[in-house]
Amino acid sequence: MTLLLDSIEAVAEAVREGPRVLPVGAGTKPALSSPPAGDVVALDVSGLRGIVEYDPAELTFTALAGTPVAEIEGALAQHGQHLPFDPPLRAAGATLGGVVASGTSGPGAFRHGGVRDFVIGVRFVEGTGRLVTGGGKVVKNAAGFDLPKLMVGSMGRLGVLVQLSFKVFPRPRATTTLAFELGSLEAALETVARLGHGPLELDALDLEPPGRVVVRLGGDPGALGARAERLAGLVGAAGPERLDGDRDAATWQAATELAWVPDGCRVVRAGLTPRSVPALDAALRAAGARTRYSLGANAAWIAWPDDPPLARLDAALAGLGLAGMVLTGPPDRQLLGAPRGGAFAARIRGALDPDARFPEA
């Protein structure tokens, strides 16, 4: 069952009075947003939509949680601004609330940080049906507990997001992309580590296994050519492929929209350390999964096939002390591997949702 809700009051009432509930926006990450059990009702909050406040001179905006990210990006682009972390699945319709609840950041998070680094304020309905506010609307704020960060990655299971405030950054005035074929995962990881050290400030640093490293540069149009040459010199591999204009945009659009994921695969997002990549990659290859490493090999987008079962990925991640979040497929699992939090997580969850109104991950 799905309840269509178009006001904050209706959300509060549904949480207070209905059966167990789970919010859903555009449904682009169904493993998180489909009700996992018969007694859980989906709260469709896609009607809570619209930009509440956007002052380009302030570089901040506030929007209702069901607002599609694409709508927000459109408004920002008119003023030469953007959310630099490339919110994933925006062309597929992802909402701002869904991006926060899934905690997903795209390749652009490499330079300036991800969704957790840009969200500055939140309003949500907690488990007793009360509307609460955390953070604020200014870019710097240390008042009270940092509830905006807590809601990042909360999977709709700590509260129903209804409104969010973000800081934004100026959009780079020009971008270009260089792709290098390094031949092996080992060589690609070595290059990723070297580039991560600087001195070049890269907008994105992705690795397509086994050996392709894709780098995006953004900034002053006059300086871009010289910087691209420096980048090529730094990597030292012969003949990088230079992708400009539409090809630059298309490259990152495909990464952000997960266009490379084969049909029938489940998408899992994992947090990594670069050191854990060789062992993880071996396990993924053995299972026939396809993978794209992002954020300088700190994150993996994994396309897991129908067979072997997801439990094998769960075990592989756990064995390496890593955690993953399942984004697509049925809502049988949300977290894989070794997620952290322990007793702290249990106590905070209990305080936010004392009557277990939201399903557990």
Partner: protein, 473 residues
């Protein structure tokens, strides 16, 4: 003018000191009144409360054992690093103890390829960057007190600094924390990865002002040291025009790493102490660019144009590391330097939307004139984080109260303009009465519920951030 914290507690039954002796710490358990007095205040000296005892911990296990004993015996505790809090964050509670973490100051691991480090909480902020420097890396958050403040305190208060404008606050650089909860349970929050998975428990712990327990190990991300840095100084005839210049730079889509403003009084104080040789004027704007040399070169030309167009009467800039160091030394010593201008001062830490900076400065100027109290302004202009320094002489009758009233009015102004009561110093004791300006009863009730869930006995840094719950009607 020391005074006791307002949340009075009866000392717990039995002797805290007696129970602590069982930990076998020998001389590292301080109990003499003379030794304890030094731990009674932090950098907000208006508040003082002598603790019952101080534990000088040397190992994680000693911190854990001490917390467990406090839990068992019902003894309130506050963790303390260097005691540099400007909001009273590490002021002890009556009948409670201090767990001093200064000796837990090691770098446990540093991975230059992953650009991460695992650190103990007592390490000095600047020592993290010193340890990373041989690898061409640095730890970005740089509070003005970075040469003395400890990382554990930075995490507890989500400290900022001048270079937050581009790099973000402490919380944006901490990846993981191993912490002991107030009942002695040890938890791991976050991870070693830049990419968090699942609810951001670590993000909630960071900035919780010690109310959720004590960080034992902190994993941070390091950044590459920029190859090029250029610092510009611009002089303005009024504070408001300097504020307008900041709005113009932000509006032009530039992303400087720092933008700071000092007024004539703050410049005078800096010149009286560390003598940075600032140009004279009513207001000084410091703008720092850093990054690749091609980018900094291109931005520098745009910046100079913007500064000229904004009415600066004098513009200088430097890429010389020694000159830059002196500029920042002058800026970062400004709080202590106002001690040259008046016997006492209150530092405020309000935030306003940066488009309303000029308006806020003009109104603070009028409020200062009306109250007949001098206010020096030195602040992180790029993110709207004001630090008015309210100067007074505590020996004058009623001067403290008048200064506090002005400080309170400034905080109300910040909230009225759409900002915050604190950008980076935290709420702690100093501003907890003002939290309700920003948050509703339901918001505050939830924060109390979170605190209660983690620490039902309210033993970890009690009396900070959240006022005691109102009595039931």
């Amino acid at each position: 003018m020391p005074r006791a914290d307002t949340e009075q507690r009866e000392p717990p039954a039995g002797s805290a000191v007696g129970a602590l002796r069982s930990l076998g710490l020998g001389p590292r358990l301080l109990t003499s009144p003379a030794a304890l007095t030094a731990f009674g205040s932090d950098a907000l000296t208006a508040f003082h409360q002598r603790p019952e005892a101080v534990v000088l911990a040397e190992t994680e296990q000693e911190v854990i054992d001490t917390v467990r004993l406090c839990h068992r015996e019902g003894i309130p505790f506050v963790a303390r690093g260097s005691g540099t809090s400007l909001s009273g964050g590490s002021v002890p509670v009556a009948g409670g103890i201090v767990i001093a973490l200064n000796r837990l100051d090691r770098v446990l691991a540093l991975d230059p390829d992953a650009r991460t480090a695992v650190l103990q909480p007592g390490i000095i902020n600047l020592d993290v960057s010193r340890a990373a420097a041989p690898h061409g890396l640095a730890y970005a958050p740089d509070p003005s007190s970075q040469s003395v403040c400890s990382l554990g305190g930075n995490v507890a208060f989500n400290s900022g600094g001048a270079h937050c404008l581009k790099h973000g606050m402490t919380s944006n650089h901490v990846l993981g924390v191993k912490a002991v909860l107030p009942d002695g349970e040890v938890v791991h929050l976050g991870s070693d990865s830049v990419e968090p998975i699942g609810p951001d428990w670590m993000g909630l712990f960071c900035g919780s002002e010690g109310l959720f327990g004590i960080a034992l190990q902190i994993t941070v991300r390091l950044i590459g040291v920029a190859e090029s840095t250029r610092t510009a100084l611009a002089v303005y005839e009024t504070l408001e025009s300097a504020g307008e210049a900041v709005a113009r730079i932000v509006g032009a889509g530039m992303l400087p790493v720092a933008m700071e403003i000092m007024d004539a009084l703050a410049i005078e104080a800096a010149e009286a102490s560390v003598k940075p040789g600032y140009p004279k004027g009513a207001a000084l704007l410091i703008v720092e660019l850093e990054g690749e040399r091609e980018e900094v070169g291109a931005d520098a030309a745009r910046l100079d144009e913007l500064l000229r167009a904004s009415g600066a009467t004098q513009i200088t800039s430097t890429e010389d590391p020694d000159e830059r160091a002196l500029i920042w030394q002058g800026r970062k010593s400004a709080f202590s330097a106002v001690g040259w201008l008046a016997p006492d001062y209150i530092v405020q830490d309000g935030v306003v939307p940066r488009t309303r900076l000029s308006e806020a400065l003009a109104r603070i100027g009028r409020m200062s004139a009306e109250a007949g109290i001098r206010v020096a302004n030195v602040f992180h202009a790029g993110d709207g984080n004001l630090h008015p320094l309210i100067l007074f002489d505590g020996s004058e009758d009623g001067a403290v109260v008048r200064a506090e009233e002005l400080a309170a009015d400034i905080l109300r102004l910040c909230v009225e303009l759409g900002g915050s009561i604190t950008g980076e110093h935290g709420v702690a004791v100093e501003k907890r009465a003002f939290l309700s300006l920003m948050f509703s009863d339901d918001d505050l009730a939830l924060m109390r519920r979170l605190r209660h869930a983690v620490d039902p006995a309210a033993l970890a840094n009690p009396g900070k951030m959240l006022e005691p719950a109102p009595a039931p009607a």
